[in-house]
Amino acid sequence: MMKDNDDKAFNAWMENRRFEEPSAGLATRIIRAAAGREQRAPFSLGGFLRRTFQEFHLPSPAYALAVVLLIGFAVGANAPSATADSQDDSEIQTLLYMDGGSL
């Protein structure tokens, strides 16, 4: 009996918590705030590429991308195979050979 009373008193105390009602116009405020915002589409590669091309205003994005890729491959294929490092190596070998020859 005593415990029941304690439990009741405890529950009454718990229910005594402060609460303020929301402003009357809360829903309206949220709806108005949303009206000024655009929805964002979920991320997709296609969407990302589309937005990127829109940003750069390419006249025919698909063709432009293909042309850029072709140019890249062409440049890569025609580049001299000897790199700066291998040139350096051959110069060092020549120098060593010459040094060796003179010794």
């Binding site: 005594n16 918590r17 609460f19 929301p22 405020r29 949220i30 949303a34 929805q39």
Partner: protein, 205 residues
């Protein structure tokens, strides 16, 4: 054997319970339909969803912030996130919209609390030491302040569990879903929260 009177009561309870379950399922279905329209950019569906749920989510946010403006801001932020990225809620995950959105609101409240300095309390909120001497009798106002302080001192997860179950009236299973816990873990959090508060209450009386 049930007396006719009891049998009648049980039948009424079952009827009320099934009606509640049916209306709850209907609401969940309506929410899903509204969200499908929101993801197509339908502003009136969004307005209907806000009108339907803003008060319940405000109540939850208020339990965490204890500040009307702050709670309203949290609810607004949560709904705006939903409007901007409706795909974040996925019907096929078998989670009710309200369960998922409770989680969003709770996370926003906890994030805000971590990020921001404490807001000024409402004007009627007295910051004086709440602990009275034993001779002092407690007024309702003092009891309320002590309750607020005791709840604020609870560990975060216990506070969330208490707010969801005791103050927002969610079932233990729903609260467990919101907190992404199993039922036993939630019950344990609730028991510990209540035990701590009972100790405070026992010291007070």
């Amino acid at each position: 054997m049930l007396s006719p009177h009891h049998a009648g009561n049980v039948a009424e309870e079952l009827d009320a319970s099934s009606q509640h379950a049916a209306s709850s399922a209907m609401t969940a279905h309506d929410d899903a339909a509204l969200l499908a329209r929101i993801s197509e950019g339908n502003a009136s569906a969004f307005a209907a969803l806000v009108e339907r749920h803003n008060r319940r989510f405000y109540a939850l946010a208020y339990r965490f912030t204890m500040h009307r403006q702050e709670a309203e801001d949290v609810v607004q932020d949560a709904f705006l996130k939903l409007w901007e990225r409706p795909d974040q809620w996925q019907a096929d995950r078998n989670t009710r919209f309200t369960t998922w959105f409770y989680r969003v609101v709770v996370n926003l409240c906890l994030d805000r609390k971590k990020r921001k300095r404490p807001l000024p309390l409402a004007e009627d909120f007295d910051m004086a030491d709440d602990r009275p001497s034993q001779e002092e009798s407690f007024s309702g106002h003092q009891q309320r302040k002590l309750l607020e302080s005791a709840i604020a001192d609870l560990p975060e997860r216990q506070r969330v569990a208490l707010n969801l179950c005791f103050y927002e009236g969610l079932s233990n299973q729903e609260a467990a879903d919101v907190m992404q816990l199993n039922l036993k873990a939630l019950q344990s959090l609730l028991m510990r929260a209540k035990a701590t508060l009972k100790e405070t209450f026992a010291r007070m009386i």
